[in-house]
Amino acid sequence: MLRDITIGQHFPGNSVLHRCDPRLKLVGTIAYIIVLFVASNPLGIALSLALLALLYAVAKIPYRLILKSLKPIVPIIIFTAVLNLFFITGDGEPLVRLWVFSIYKEGVSYAILMAVRVVALIAGTSLLTYTTSPIVLTDAIESLLRPLQKLHFPVHELAMMMTIALRFIPTLIEETEKIMNAQKARGAKLDNGKFTERIRALIPILIPLFISAFRRADELAMAMECRCYRGGEGRTRLKVLRFGKLDVQCALALAVLLGIILSTTLLF
């Protein structure tokens, strides 16, 4: 049900990956994604997967969580793989001929490569959210985007909005469940009926949900004003992000590993 949603799910721990600076993790993840697409030869992909497996082991995150995070995008993976399978044409003889479609050797290998790459992409970004709490992550985003402030980009406001949005996801899910139960108790038909009926059945849930969201926003704004919130200017933090010795070591290790993966492109 609703509770199964795992957006930005965080698994607290005390591994090196958990303790490392979130900015490094964020930049590292982006670098990893870039490497995935640049080093698109079989060896490069295999090494990228190995690196991912290593990082999961270091973070002590069970591998079955990868499967869990992959579940919602299985249709996309299958869809892209099938498309690649049929639309990539090669030089040699096609392997199979089906009506107007023909499958080439290149198509098969590209489809597999693409699917594996998407899997690695999702698993890699999930590792970031597994090891970093959403709040810390927005701190990192704010810190990384700070230079944009010179261009009058509202960095702090954006980060605050993200923090609040993340904070209220579980609250609103709980609220939705409560309202759904209350309307079901009054005989609402939510799980069956025609499409138009189902849409109409959502009104008694959405209206109270919106009203309660606005009420919460109002209360939160009031509470923030009471504590003299005036935006980011001159604001100090409880937890200051520090790039320490451990982070330097991690950054170097990651750079070396990603460099090795990148160098495989020279071989092919």
Binding site: A185, R186, K189, P204
Partner: protein, 304 residues
């Protein structure tokens, strides 16, 4: 009188199969007679709310059976929705479920889902509004303009209008001022007396339970700790205190008096009965000049 709800070895487990698996209900068996006014009491996390959400099939028991009006709710081929119309459930803070343009339309939402005729719906809305003391003028206003107490009454009327055989209310007076509290609870009691509908009232307040319920179900750690008439439950006040529940202030005074060595009954939970008990005790000590004991005042609360 016949049984309207019967639970047999009801068990409900949250997060089954995960490391943090917890039983919210464990081997709960009891039955409720039609026409009773039952109070359910228990400390936070004792399973009260989980229990009542089983009464209309919002939760499916992990094991055990639940019969409503003699029908096994989770038997093959049973229509769950028909149970929702049989058991009207009013949740905590029900005012957050209001959504219609006018109060009258919101109250009509439940009956309309039952597929009743427009005429019947209007009759029920009017009747439910009467029970909850909502004026004609209020019914035509948007529920979002009303005060907290009024909203709450609209929400309760919305469930009453479904004319369930059992009305279950989870903390209907929570968060209201003392006057709003008394008004709502008195209205529920009047509704019970007039319609004879079985009422189940979940509450934290021993005072409220003592004042309105006939029988009390005490929940403790996912199970039923006691289930008896109000008098018998309050006669076991020390045990209630051990379960972390409070007893009415009057009862606490009498417990203390007994502790101090006075030979006195402790199953006292209403003010009139307390007065009578004190006077009786006084007269027993001073037989030479007894004080007059008020005649049957407040006797409807307690047959002594």
């Amino acid at each position: 009188m016949s049984e309207i709800i019967r639970c047999e070895h009801l068990r409900y487990v949250y997060n089954a199969g995960l490391p943090d698996e917890t039983a919210a209900l464990d081997d709960v068996s009891f039955s409720i007679e039609e026409g009773d006014f039952i109070g359910i009491i228990g400390s936070t996390g004792s399973g009260k709310s989980t229990l009542i959400s089983h009464f209309n099939g919002l939760n499916r028991p992990t094991s055990g059976k639940i019969y409503v009006d003699g029908r096994d709710m989770w038997a093959e081929g049973e229509d769950l929705r028909s149970f929702r119309f049989l058991v009207g459930l009013v949740f905590q803070y029900p005012e957050y479920q209001l959504f219609e343009e006018t109060c009258a339309q919101d109250i009509a939402y439940g009956p309309r889902n039952m597929g009743l005729s427009e005429e019947e719906i209007q009759r029920r809305v009017k009747e439910a509004a009467e029970f909850t003391g909502l004026s004609e003028d209020l019914l035509q206003r948007s529920p979002f303009e009303l005060s907290g107490g009024q909203k709450r009454r609209v929400a309760i009327a919305g469930v009453m209008a479904m004319e369930p055989r059992i009305l279950v209310l989870d903390e209907p007076a929570a968060g209201l001022d003392p006057e709003g509290r008394d008004t709502i609870l008195a209205q529920i009691k009047a509704y019970h007396k007039k319609t004879g509908v079985t009422v189940v009232l979940v509450s934290h307040s021993m005072e409220d339970i003592a004042k309105y319920a006939d029988k009390v179900l005490v929940m403790h750690k996912a199970g039923v700790a006691m289930y008896d008439t109000v008098e018998n439950i309050f006669a076991r006040a020390p045990e209630l205190l051990e379960l972390g529940l409070s007893v009415p202030q009057v009862t606490q005074i009498f417990l203390r008096l007994k502790e101090m060595g006075l030979d006195i009954k402790t199953d006292v939970y209403t003010m009139p009965y307390a007065v009578k008990t004190v006077l009786k005790a006084y007269n027993a000590r001073h037989p030479e000049k007894p004080l007059p004991i008020p005649a049957e005042k407040g006797g409807e609360d307690h047959a002594s």
